[in-house]
């Protein structure tokens, strides 16, 4: 074993890290080598110096600083969740957002469920009419029977209803001209079902409404579902503005349609809007009154009142539009006008 090889073995020897065989070889070398004995002595002295080194004391501020930072971080760690949920500047916007979200969801549910709501909604109460109202047989028209309209109407304040002349179709001027005839021909309806004065439509407002409707034209039929028609838009406007009276020969029918039709006729046509126009014309040909038209989900509904004797003529006219199916709700009274509802569906 050379002195160079002894170097690390001597370093191991000072804390007894040599195993049996190696220790014997090292001891044998040490007996024979003066330099290695000296090196061992130096290593042992070095070891004593190291072990005798004094210890330094930590400064008092060391623990204080460490713990201050540790507590700061511990506080921060705990307050992460608190920061998310507790301060008002986070909590209030979250709650506001939640309220808005709930409102939007509720509105959407209402919108999407509206047809279902209307289907299960109870029929409306009959229109309150003041017996013996002053207006003589004013030819006002009740609103379409469709449930959504009723719902809207139910939420609307009465004053608003009064301020909506567009819902009324026949100008009072027409009604006034034909009033005497109507009361003479249909005495059973005139006194009791005459619209109260508050529901009457002033000529000016009715004319204005008709003009507005005429101006809009047929571009958006869905938007005018609530508007009654007694003639095509142009004709209605012209009559209302120009004061052209209804044909004097036309019998004056009831001022108010009953909420349930006496007869439902379903027409299946390829082109429901076009067929509806022709159906409307057919109604007019047979002298129907109080014609209302509405469109919903591709179906066009026309309601009108006709004399029972004109029913057959109407059927003939409608037969050219497509296959018909009828259902009568109740047996009509003899001589009383029939409330007819035509529904034009797509084939």
């Amino acid at each position: 074993m050379t002195c160079r090889e002894m170097e690390t073995r001597l370093a191991a020897r000072i804390d007894g890290a040599l195993d049996g065989g190696e220790r014997e070889r090292v001891e044998a070398h040490l007996k024979a080598c003066e330099d290695c004995r000296r090196a061992l002595a130096e290593l042992q002295a070095s070891d004593r110096l190291l072990k005798g080194l004094g210890e330094v004391e930590p400064p008092p501020w060391l623990k204080t600083r460490v713990m201050a930072r540790v507590r700061e971080e511990a506080q921060g760690r705990r307050s992460v969740l608190r920061r998310l949920f507790f301060p008002l500047h986070i909590k209030v916007p979250i709650q506001a957002l939640a309220v808005v979200l709930v409102a939007v969801v509720a509105w959407n549910v209402y919108r999407t469920g509206e047809p279902e709501f209307s289907r299960v909604a109870p029929p409306p109460a009959p229109v309150q009419e003041a017996p013996g109202a002053a207006a003589p047989a004013a030819d006002t028209v009740t609103r379409d029977e469709r449930p959504p309209v009723r719902e809207k109407k139910a939420f609307a304040p009465p004053a608003e209803q009064e301020d909506r002349p567009v819902r009324k179709v026949e100008p009072v001027r027409d009604a006034a001209k034909a009033g005497a005839v109507a009361s003479a021909r249909l005495p059973e309806e005139a006194p009791g079902k005459v619209a109260p004065a508050k529901d009457e439509v002033r000529p000016e407002s009715g004319g204005a409404a008709a003009r507005q409707e005429a101006a809009r034209g047929p571009a958006a039929p869905e938007q005018r579902t609530q508007k009654a028609l007694t003639a095509p838009p142009g004709a209605a406007a012209g009559r209302a503005v120009g004061g052209e009276a209804a044909p004097a020969a036309a019998p004056m029918l009831s001022a108010t349609l009953s909420t349930r039709p006496d007869l439902d006729i379903i027409v299946r046509a390829k082109d429901p809007p076009g067929a509806a126009d022709r159906a409307e014309e057919a109604l007019r040909k047979v002298g129907a009154r109080s014609i209302e038209r509405s469109t919903r989900e591709g179906r066009v509904t026309l309601t009108a009142r006709i004399r029972p004797e004109d029913l057959e003529a109407l059927r003939e006219n409608l037969a050219s539009l497509g296959p018909l199916s009828e259902s009568a709700a109740a047996a009509p009274r003899t001589g009383a006008p029939l409330a007819v509802r035509l529904e034009i569906r797509s084939e």
Binding site: E7, T8, R9, L10, A11, A12, I14, A17, A39, A41, E42, L43, Q44, A45, S46, D47, L49, L50, K51, L53, G54, E55, V56, E57, P58, P59, L62, K63, R65, V66, M67, R69, V70, R71, E73, A74, R77, R78
Partner: protein
């Protein structure tokens, strides 16, 4: 009972820090104060002997404690807490040591320079009395020379020397702190002892 489970149980019962560590892992900062109080002196001495600078050592210990607090939830009790903790302070001291060495590399001369302790050697923290010889050196001055020699060792040798010969950790503990096998720890240590001895012979002159 499996040996591994027994080993863990033994470590838990042997580890005086186990209770405080558990509390720390539940977020109890007060329990960490116990650990700081218990280990700060030895950690500071490890860092001081590795760095040779008291202020640097204090900073390294602070950083080590904070790092330990941040990571204490990940401590799995596979070793004693003190082993884990001293491993952290050795890492921080080593990082600081390298920074200091990089900054002063072009300025500092080697301890092997012929000028010796009175020359331009790395004696920033060590006061130079300007004299050599066993009888004339005060204890503190000898310590300064020893520290000066420790500072000449490469980091990998210095840390095992400090941990074994100054702080008295076992080879197993040092292996745990440095993530080294025992054989590597021993070979580094024996080499470090030999280099340090040569340095001391040069620095202290006629010695022992």
């Amino acid at each position: 009972m499996p040996d591994a489970v027994i080993a863990v149980l033994n470590r838990l019962t042997d580890d005086e820090d186990a209770d405080a560590v558990l509390r720390c892992q539940r977020g109890d900062a007060d329990a960490f104060e116990i650990l700081v109080e218990r280990h700060q002196k030895r950690m500071l001495n490890v860092a001081y002997r590795m760095l040779g600078d008291y202020d640097e050592a204090c900073d390294a210990v602070q950083e080590a404690f904070l790092a330990a607090w941040r990571a204490i939830r990940s401590f799995r009790r596979e070793a004693k807490f003190s082993t884990w903790l001293y491993g952290i302070v050795v890492n921080h001291a080593r990082t600081r040591m390298r920074k200091v060495q990089a900054l002063s590399r072009h300025e500092a001369a080697s301890i092997d320079d012929p000028a010796g302790p009175q020359g331009d050697g790395p004696r920033r923290e060590v006061p130079d009395c300007g004299e050599t010889g066993d009888e004339r050196l005060e204890r503190k001055e000898i310590e300064a020379r020893v520290q000066q020699c420790i500072g000449t060792l490469d980091a990998e040798f210095r840390e095992v020397l400090v941990l074994r010969d100054i702080q008295g950790f076992s080879y197993e503990e040092i292996g745990g702190m440095l993530h080294l096998p025992e054989g590597t720890v021993k070979s580094r240590l024996f080499r470090a002892r030999a280099v340090l001895k040569d340095c001391l012979v040069r620095v202290l002159g006629e010695w022992p």
